[in-house]
Every structure is written in C-alpha cells, then in structure tokens.
Point group: C2
Chain length 352, copies 2
C-alpha cells in the first residue's frame, strides 16, 4: 500500500514541519460533514486527516470492496489490538499491576502468614519507592497471590468491584475512562466493515475479559491474553466450579502474541495494532500473510494530553511500553504505519 510508504517515513522533523500545514488542512476536511457530505472518513471523527487515517480507510476499502484485488471474505476479517498503551493508558504502570498491588491487603487478611514476608510486607508498608524497585520475581509472587487460587467467578467479581472505584491519580478518573477515543472509533469502524476485533494483550486474559464487552465492545471470547490454567472441581454441594491455578499456559507477549493468536483464533490477522516492542512479532506475523495487511504502532509523543515516552525518536525511556529505535526502524523498513498521538489524534479521551 502506497500510504504505508508515506507514513512509515514519518520522523520527528517531518511531524513538526507538517504541523505548519495542519490547521488549514484539517479545518477544510472537517467542514465536509457539516456540508452534508457523507464520506467513508466520517466514522473516524477523532482522527486528523493525515496518512495514518488515510491508511486505515484505504485498507478497509481495499479489503472490503467486492472486486478489489485485496478483497477479504467477511469470515476471514480478523483485526488484533494490543491493549496497554494501544487502547488505554499504560503509564506510569500497567493498570493490572495496580489491581494486584491493591489486592494485597485482602490476600494478607486471608493469609496472615504473608504479613511479614517480602514482597507483601513492602506492599503493605505503602513505600512507593521500594515498590517501584521490585524485581520480576517479586512481581511474580504478587501476581500469583492475587490472580490465582480463587474461583473464576470470585476473581471476576473482585475485578469488577475494583474497576468501579479505583482511579488513575493523574486524571482522578476510572481506568476504564482512560480509553483512547480514536482507537474506540477504529474498533467500531473495523467492526462495521465486517472485521472481528480481538484484543491480544500481555495482560491477563481473565482480567481484561471482565470489562472488554462493556468498554471496547469486544466479547470475552475475543480477548487473547496471558493465560493461566484452571482446575475443575466440585464444591461441598457437588456443584462444579473452576479455580484459577498458578500454572502459566502462555505468556502472551513478544513471540507469545502470534502463538496466542494461533491458539485462540487459528488464523492470521489482516490488521494488527500495537505500541511497543512487545507487539513486534504480532505485526511481523500479520505482515507475513498474503494480500493487503495493515500494521500500525501508536507512538506516545504527547506529554500534554497523555505521555511522551519511547525511547524511539529521542523520547524518554521508561519501564513500561518500550517503543525502541529498533522497532521504529523496522516499522519504517516494513511499511508499518506509526500513529503519532500528538498529530494524528484530534482528541485522546472521550472526556476531553
């Protein structure tokens, strides 16, 4: 696709120089719907008229118009979306990790022997600096203690309750309000074009499923995430139930993403969206298929409305959501489209 070449070539200087032309351009295009015209672009209302949006529209047109050489039959239309940093805010720390930290007091109340054991002791102390320094092994202990050992029904109820009250400190809003409005519109646009939309996340599959339908319009069976085993058993009344086990079936990140896609979907997506090195293999796998395929990466370059981190293109390196220069270079080489939040999105959140 020609627009791939255009957009993958974007670098920071080009973004800045294009800005000069943007206000006039977007005003001209925005006025079209007001003049009563119906255009294919209309559904992506929060996207600026730039190559990223054009690439989406071109892709949908190429794969859904009968007679187009890139036509994809409706039953084969699969689009996969990373979640953290692609559909909702992932900074300063993944929301699910906050959930796990928030759950520690309840877990310790049930298992008092953990009170003076690390890393639980530090979590209870509330020492944010010490918590920020947790090793992967510390985090793993917290994840196992808070995400496994209960029935799937109890887990779902706990996550649901947490989502109703826990808030992001920067915006003082529920995490489920911190969804990127342009990506919601993209999900909707693809679904209206016959695409089945999936989340493919390194986060916990069962965690994301609790709110995926309500927040993204994506049913639980279309959430592919990091998967743990469950164990079937009977309660004292003989009623069957499933317990979440501390057994990792698949770490749905990096190479695990195409593996998870094969496991859960059984075929290759025609469109894939990510924002970090964890999505690289998913985009490569999508791109390796025949015909027209759309591969896009969200670049967080908007410290004012959201965050700016990278370290691609000189943005600050952070622990969460690494968009490395190597990924940026691979995107450019392979014709993947980079979505610059700052310039491609008219607004970031619905509440703006």
């Amino acid at each position: 696709m020609k627009s791939d070449d255009l957009s993958s070539g974007i670098d920071r200087r080009a973004l800045v120089s294009n800005l000069v032309l943007l206000p006039a351009l977007s005003t001209a295009l925005l006025s079209s719907p007001a003049q009563g015209q119906t255009t294919l672009n209309a559904p992506l209302a929060s996207w600026n008229e730039r190559p990223a949006k054009q690439a989406i529209v071109d892709f949908v047109r190429a794969t859904t118009q009968q007679g187009s050489p890139g036509f994809v039959p409706p039953e084969d239309r699969i689009a996969t979306f990373d979640q953290d940093g692609t559909l909702w805010v992932e900074h300063p720390i993944y929301n699910q990790v906050i959930y796990c930290l928030d759950r520690v007091p309840a877990v310790v109340a049930q298992k008092p022997e953990l009170r003076n054991v690390e890393p639980f002791k530090t979590v209870l102390s509330g020492n944010r600096e010490a918590i920020a320094k947790f090793s992967l092994s510390d985090l793993e202990k917290i994840l196992v203690a808070t995400l496994t050992g209960m029935s799937v029904d109890v887990f779902e109820a706990e996550v649901r309750k947490w989502l109703e009250s826990a808030k992001h400190t920067r915006w003082n809003r529920l995490y489920t309000e911190l969804i990127y409005q342009p990506m919601l519109e993209l999900l909707q646009y693809l679904r209206e074009s016959g695409y089945k939309t999936y989340i493919v996340t390194g986060g916990g599959q069962d965690f994301v499923r609790v709110y995926s339908q309500r927040v993204y319009g994506i049913p639980p069976e279309q959430v592919v995430g990091t998967m743990g085993g469950t164990k079937f058993d009977y309660d004292k009344n003989g009623k069957p139930f499933l317990t979440k086990e501390p057994k990792l079936l698949l770490n749905d990140d990096m190479a695990g993403k195409p593996e998870g896609i094969h496991l859960m979907i059984g075929r290759r997506p025609h469109a894939a969206f990510g924002n970090s090195d964890g999505d690289r293999e998913m985009l490569e796998y999508t791109g390796a298929g025949a015909g027209t395929r759309l591969k896009m990466l969200v670049l967080h370059d908007d410290a004012t409305r959201e965050y700016a981190y990278g370290p691609a293109q000189g943005l600050p390196a952070t622990k969460v959501g690494a968009f490395t220069q190597a990924l940026f270079d691979e995107a450019k080489k392979n014709g993947w489209i980079v979505i610059g939040m700052k310039n491609d999105w008219k607004r970031v959140f619905a509440f703006e």
Copy 2:
C-alpha cells in the same frame, strides 16, 4: 424444564414401546409443512417429533423470546458441541487417529531411523490386530510424530489433502460426509436463533479447524480442542512462521472440557451436547449455570444405520466413546436429555 424430566426418563423399554406409536405420530406431524404451515419445528427436518426435538425447540423459545423468564441476551448465547460421536462417526476408531496412522509412512520417509523402531515398525507392517493393541504410550508416540514438528501451514495442508481422499471403510465415503444430518440442522437452528456454536472436542484443535468452517459452518476460532503449543521463529529469508511443538497445553477431555471452555470462550455455555463420559463435566458445568440450560447426550443405539455401543443400557462396550451406565444415571438424575439415534433421527446422514 419439564421436557427434561420426560426425556431423561427414557429407558430402552420405553423406547421400544414408544416405537409402536411412532409411525402414525410422525406421519401426522410430517404432513404439517406440506400443508403450508410454517412452524418453529420446521428447521429440524431430520428429527422425529419426540421429546428430544421438543426439548430443543422449548429451549430456544425460552431463551430467545423477549419477555421470557429464561431470556438470554444474544451476546451471551453460547452452545458447545463435542465432535467425535456427537457430530460425526467415531467408530471403529477416531478419524484423527486414522490420519496419524496414515501419516506414519511419510514421517518415516523423512526420518528413516524410525523404520525399525516401535510403534512405527508395527504401523508400517499394516498388522491391524497388533495396531489395535497399541498402548496409550504407543499412540502418544505416533501422535507426537505426526501432529508436531512441522509448521502450522504445512500441517493444515497435509490434513486438507488427507480429507480429500481418505475414506471410511464401512461406507466408502470421505470422513467429512459422515456427519450427522440432524446435528447439522441443530447447529444451523441454534445459529439462526442467535447462538454462537462451538466445537469442544478431545480431538486436536488444529486438526478440526481445517474443516470446521466448510463442514459445520463453525469458524476456526470457535473450535476448542486438545491444544499443543507452537513456537514462533523465522525462516532463512526472515519470514516468521509457527511450528507445532510437542508441548501439551490442555487435554480437552473430561474435566479439560470446562477448563478449555473457560480458556477459549471465557463464559459458561447455555447448551451443551455430547455422547460419552468425556462430555460429563462439560454438561455438569453447563447445567450449573443459572437460568435455562440445555444438556443433551447422543446415544448410539442404531447398529443398522450407524453403530450401537455403550455400555449404557446393555449396549456393547467399546474402546471408543464410552457412554456408561453411570453417565446414563447421571443424565436421568440431572434432567439431561438422551437423544436415541434410532428413534429420534429420521435419517443419520445427508446421503441416506
């Protein structure tokens, strides 16, 4: 549901005594469509007018009619079907096992060191009696050698090719022709009623996915089966591909069925269909949900048109597809409906 009570109480004697009344009854009911009436029953054309069919129709009515106390919102309508012995013939041996045995010569051609190693040596000898005596460990070696170690694309092509020519010896027909027509109609009827239909099989997930859309109208992502891991890698040209690994993620049988349902679907079915002890936990799990749930078991009691085996109700015990007396008793106790092939189905196969 009242009809559950009726039908679960069926035993062999009742089936026999009901037969006396059946011809007159079915003629009367069959004549209705010819008289130009449109009834809700019409879609299940190969089902006799008996409690099993009535239970299906009652279930669909109860769960899909607005205002019904058992109403299920369209997005929650999930129905799960075992495959072997429930949707297609499983005798005298599971079709996928025949595939694996048929693949042994090709595997040995690639790995000549296996030629004189058991169990491959015996498979190559063609000694059916010896093959029939294989232990589980022998079978496992054959399954690993023929189902793993190749790319997912190569595997799919091999299965596709085999399905085009391999035939069942009794009927001299392709395995994909040996689908139960009444069950195809049931799948179709449920889908038209807003149900998402899933296969939940002890067979290999990747194997069944090759033909599920074409044969059952069920897309690959709605096949839950025994799952193996895959490994993401790059070929010498840098193109990514997935290799099927000899790593069992989930044995989708017995307790593995509800575990597989949770993993792949993330919620409890409202209807579940099986035919053997391997489906017991799936039906229990389905039945443990609130509201109206349909649980049905196919009983193979028709040696003339298909097979008769059990050992429920005095049918001969076999290696494949055990419908034990204990399962029969549990069905009766829990109000699960037993579908007797002989009396409930007007025809078994489309080609009859």
